[in-house]
Amino acid sequence: MPTNVPAGRDLRLDLFRGIALWLIFLDHIPFNVVNWVTIRNYGFSDAAEIFVFISGYTAAFVYGRAMRERGPIAAGARILKRGWQVYVAHVFLFVIYLAEISYVGAKFDNPLFAEEFNLFGFLRSPDVILTQALILKFKPVNMDVLPLYIVLLLAFPPLLWSLLRSPNLALLGSGILYLVARKFGWNLPAFPAGKWYFNPFAWQFLFVFGAWCALGGAQQVSALIKSRAVLVLSIAYLLFAMVMTLAGHFPRMHQLIPTFIDRLVNPVDKTNLDPLRLIHFAILALVTVRFIPRDWPYLKWSGFRPAIICGEHSLEIFCLGIFLSFAGHFFLVEISNRAWAQIFVSLVGIVVMVAVAWVMNWYKKLDARGPKSLPPQPQPAVR
């Protein structure tokens, strides 16, 4: 995501963001056997949390330095420019989505699904739908992460400023907003009805938490990370989350869960970032950081390179992943939906993501050494 990468970049961020991008791609292909490997089946939180947290972390890391060195106006302008890029990417994805939906909508006429077919009804009123999409009120399923990210970036300049002044106070403020928004049901309106699937007032907390960790917060909790008691409790919680989540998939396993525990836990609300999800992600991060330190030698292992380079170009690879999940679903629907096809589509998608990230790295290297290797430019005749 950042363009000026410092030499001491934390490879763990790119690695896990790269993996999160793969998982998001896999999760977005419905009815895919390969989905079983993704973390959402084994705990409350999923790849969305990883993506939002690391995005907050890197945004604070990169723009925090810019704000210290060049002041809030210059850094703020760069953040807003980034927000604009994400918006353009989102609109581009929306056009691709419309193309696919229009194609399916024109041919789909199975009487069994006459009611569901009404979903294509919005194609009849492009005037409404395009406007609503441009103001981020109409967001097709699987395209709701980028609008969240846009809103978070829009709000980030003042947020970052306060995080730099007083990190703990800013985190506290963000936490209060999270709680109040959950309590009073604050959320942005969606079209045609309802609210945003990713409530920005709730999810901002994870973004700010990531930023806080990047700006020195991680050191503040290092005692927690090293504590043995915390580790034991963490593993207990992760196991509990795993049992509860797997039970959701298997009715027979679900019957074994005592009703009061089921009632305490379910439903686990994604829209408003249920505290169970938040805690689950925080614990996952804690355990990961404990066992994978920043100087972990295997981070340089070539087997991790594919994920790391995807993480380095997260916006582009995220968009590509969404596109590939549409394309993959299209393949499964039109050609074959057998298990071999699902595995094939999943593998091809990840290979394409890695290949594109690799090409982007190559371009970057080309740009970096470009001017020097070019022949000297002729001097303009007139000054």
């Binding site: 977005h28 419905p30 009815f31 079983w36 939906i101 399916v104 041919k107 789909f108 006429d109 199975n110 009487p111 069994l112 699904f113 006459a114 009611e115 569901e116 077919f117 009404n118 979903l119 097709p140 399923v141 699987n142 969606a190 045609p192 009805a193 309802g194 609210k195 699937y197 797997l246 298997f250 009715p251 027979r252 009703t259 379910n266 439903p267 609300d269 994604k270 829209t271 679903h329 629907v333 939906n337």
Partner: protein, 247 residues
Amino acid sequence: MTRFFALIAGLLLWNGAALAQGADACAVSDDLVSTEVPLPHVAEAVSQAKRLQIAVVGSASSTLRGASGVQHAYPAQLEAELGGRLTGVTVKVVPHIQQGTAADVATTFQKLVAAEKPSLVIWQTGTTDVMLGIEPDSFRDALDKGVQTLQQSGSDVILMNLQYSPRTDPMMHVGPYADAMRLVAEDHNIPLFNRMAIMKYWNDEGVFDFYSMSNDGTVERVHHCIGRLLADLVIGSSKAVQNKPTQ
């Protein structure tokens, strides 16, 4: 990871066992049609009154278009199936097809129950709310109120969730709505007819192809099977009361 593979292997065996049990095209694994939750009013109507009045309240997926659509749709199939299996009992199933959110539909219940006095109301819902993006919490509240109204007026209730529709599911956030229906069913101790899981099972086992762009002749068979499994649920659940009179 080993645990994961063991689980998957167990699951595959499980499905295999279920398949081997019978060549019945409608058959699904046992856990998909659970008959543990009693239907006391149905039991009474069958054993004492010998007259079973059922209302199906649903949206477009509870009927089929065309001149003979109503005949082939699952409510009529359910009536035929129950009539055949409950000898000596007059069975009447009346479909009420309405467009609207769960909250809209729930406002019609009082009138409907007063007019027909059904022993059982099968409430098929969720699709409209998902498509409109009604908040899952509001949807759950509406279900809650609707079921309460029906129960207070002396009817048993079965909730029926959405269809499994692989072409359009990627366009909908179905999960929270399906969860809400399961929880409301548990709260009120009423059966949930898990149409979504059942259709998914048929799809995965290759019984029906739900990817088809147009009607390839399976539509009527699907509704026939839904009617049959509903009959299994109604009869099985009504016996749940008779078997456990002390509960």
